[in-house]
Assembly symmetry: C2
Homo-oligomer: 450 residues x 2
């Protein structure tokens, strides 16, 4: 056993095996939205883990088996969360190489799941193998690994599963399923995820569409919905529902310090997407992205949407919204505030429909010991100062783990051009290699109590 960190060259055998595992995993078309090859992929993952000394228990989920694996012994316990399911490959014709064949081009590895989430899993497993080898075949800490197959369909079993298996999942920290490396080679660690609540507003004024000349005497459902939408935020993007901000937890001094150290102000995002109406630039950019609760209009419909004009008074219409929530906010309470707000605006006729299960917000404070362990390992593995985000702008099922008292940190091998959920999903090969080194550094550090 040695405490000096190996280089990718030192780990070339493990990296090679990790990429071979990834190739096999990408070939398994485990598309949860379509119920494709989920038990087969769970069985393959089980065999990989058992080969490294893990005890693996499989539990039935709503769509696919939930796997809980455990191995090792030591002063620290690390929980790892990953998923073996992937998004559909559609539109398949836009892939430059077959989506389920891992293909290397120009230093990148392409394939569905290469990044999300099979590449993350394979790199972590390679790190576990390397650590076992360095310790004579045993793991010097307890590793608990939760791997589900329903993440891409909203993790319908997870919240209940985690609560019911609290004892099996107890840990000093949870290594979250994703993470990224920025264009300057800095590892980006996220300490939280926003909650999300998806709803639809609906309004109906008549049983069938009418000629718009009757708009003089019959109300317009799209006007009603427009008024509802316009009342939800101000031009700066701040949500204006009374009481909405009351429960928002103030960021800690450590959170604010981390925020202030995030480089850039979103200029790269604005250039990539041709953004003409930013809501925040400069120092406000990362503040809003990490900490602001937000309402988004995702789409709307009703009436005539084709070419030219049609003088119709639509009978009904709808608007789809998502709310991104931050720690302290509770989706059920926000739903109640929204209903009360619509009623107070005289919009009692606007129906409010929940579209899918909510996800609650979660965030660990930047000063938490597990955060410090992840930051130290990332600094060592990448030879660069990590970027610590108090929260991702996105959402995911982190809250159930936080409810167990387990701090979650997202650290991984994604990249800004990784095309996750899209054709030509990829990782940078060098990031995979550094990811294995990071895994070794994290496990070794935790096992030494650092």
């Amino acid at each position: 056993m040695t405490s000096s960190l190996p280089t990718p060259a030192d780990l070339s055998t493990h990296i090679g095996r990790g990429l071979s595992d990834l190739r096999d995993l990408v070939a398994l078309q485990s598309v949860s939205a379509q119920g494709r090859m989920l038990p087969e992929t769970a069985a393959f993952v089980t065999r990989l883990l058992e080969a490294e000394g893990f005890t693996v228990r499989s539990y039935p989920g709503e769509v696919a088996p939930v796997l809980v694996a455990e191995a090792g012994e030591g002063p620290a316990t690390l929980l790892i969360y990953n998923h073996y399911d992937v998004q559909p490959e559609d539109p398949a014709e836009l892939w430059e190489s077959p989506p389920f064949t891992l293909t290397e081009r120009d230093g990148r590895l392409y394939g569905r799941g290469a990044s999300d989430d099979k590449g993350e899993f394979a790199a972590r497993l390679a790190a576990v193998r390397a650590v076992r080898e360095r310790h004579g075949g045993r793991l010097p800490l307890r590793v608990r690994w939760l791997i589900e197959g329903e993440e891409e369909v909203g993790s319908p079993s997870l919240e209940r599963f985690v609560a019911e298996h609290a004892q099996e999942l107890r840990a000093d920290g949870c290594w979250w399923e994703f993470g990224s490396i920025d264009p300057d080679g800095r590892p980006v660690l996220s300490l939280g995820l926003k909650g999300v609540m998806c709803v639809e507003l609906r309004c109906r004024v008549a049983a069938s569409d009418l000629h718009s000349s009757l708009g003089a005497v019959i109300d317009n459902p799209l006007y009603r919905l427009a008024r509802a939408v316009a009342s939800l935020r101000d031009d700066g993007g701040r949500v204006t529902i009374p009481g909405f901000h009351d429960d928002v937890r103030e960021p800690s001094a450590a959170d604010l310090a981390a925020l202030a150290r995030i480089p850039g102000d979103g200029q790269a995002v604005r250039e990539t997407y041709g953004v003409t109406r930013p809501l925040a630039t400069g120092p406000a950019y990362h503040g809003r992205l990490n900490l602001a609760p937000v309402v988004n209009v995702n789409g709307w419909g009703g009436g005539y949407g084709g070419e030219g004009s049609k003088t119709v008074l639509p009978a009904h219409g709808f608007v789809k919204l998502d709310f991104r929530l931050v720690p302290g906010q509770d989706p059920a309470r926000v739903l109640g505030l929204l209903r009360a707000h619509l009623d107070a605006q005289g919009l009692t006729d606007v129906e409010l429909v929940e579209l899918e299960a909510h996800q609650k917000p979660a965030r660990v404070e930047a000063g938490h010991p597990f955060v410090r362990a992840c930051v130290a390992a990332a600094r060592e593995a990448h030879g660069a100062e990590p970027v610590v985000q108090p929260s991702s702008g996105g959402s995911g099922p982190m809250y159930p783990f936080q409810a167990l008292g387990v701090a979650c940190v997202a650290a991984g091998i994604g990249n800004v051009g990784g095309r996750v959920h899209a054709p030509n999903e990829n990782i940078v090969r060098d990031h995979f290699e550094k990811g294995v080194v990071f895994g070794v550094a994290l496990l070794e550090g935790l096992s030494r109590g650092e």
Copy 2:
């Protein structure tokens, strides 16, 4: 010659010929939107008119010939406006009898154009024949007849044509192309049409759609458009664009008196369409329908409109609007007020696009001598007190005639279940017969200077 009005029984020969003409006209599939059989139909109409002593001139229109016919001599000149084109028969499978075969069922005559506008033309031509017969083969007044073939595609040639042929079209009044008989057998006369201006609002915030987590830092085009729509009117339906109402011409005492005599308050319309959000009931119903300028939201699009949720931040969106304008208002000026209003609201990024040619509002005062002549003829022909609407809630190309100083009155044979523009278009046979009697009464009355 006699001044006592004939009954339908007295006119049975003319009514029979009128229905035979209508059968021939319906069989001609003169769908202007598809350019079908327009010259053939124009030629057939020309032969019908020439057989009654009319001189017919044919002028090229943008889509179909414009016909101007003239016959008769006397102290009065009547202009009649009709069109020989029809709407497409789609969806053809919903017709209970072939759309281009006039078919009688249960006292109604079904077929495309039976009401709009071939039935109106055939009834009027039958009346002209009867009047000629009653006067020894000559017409005791000058009849000018403008019959176009582009009405169902927005009359693109008409405004300019009327202005350029002012001399040929001069008259004491214009008998407008449509009109109706209410469920209680009362003839409904309309003295005006609202103007219409169709526009689209568009907003774009980025070159491509984004993940909605970026909604924290990038604006939302559907919010921008919702705020624009919400700013255009109040909950009572009154347009709130500054200056919008400044030019509205006040209704005359005669207009208000006519309005007060309109029976009902729209309850039948609300029941027919299952209306749950009326804007006006009771005495306000006809006031708003006849006299109020209105903004309608016809439809909108942008982002995700399918089942369930999708956490997308749309790159762009649009809203389609129509404005119904009343006399005194000018579409070009309203367009400028709308742009200024959006700018004043900080919505300079919301693009304003005109969708098609505007139609200006037109209305003749209820006290006009030609209105009195029409009311007297309707009362006599139907044996019921006519309902006089200062304006229809709908729109049409009436303004160019008014600009020549010709008062237009809509009086005709439509019915509330007539399914104009829809499958199973129809007229009530009894209304056709009474329509011929009304035509005789009107022509005789005008020829006597009443």
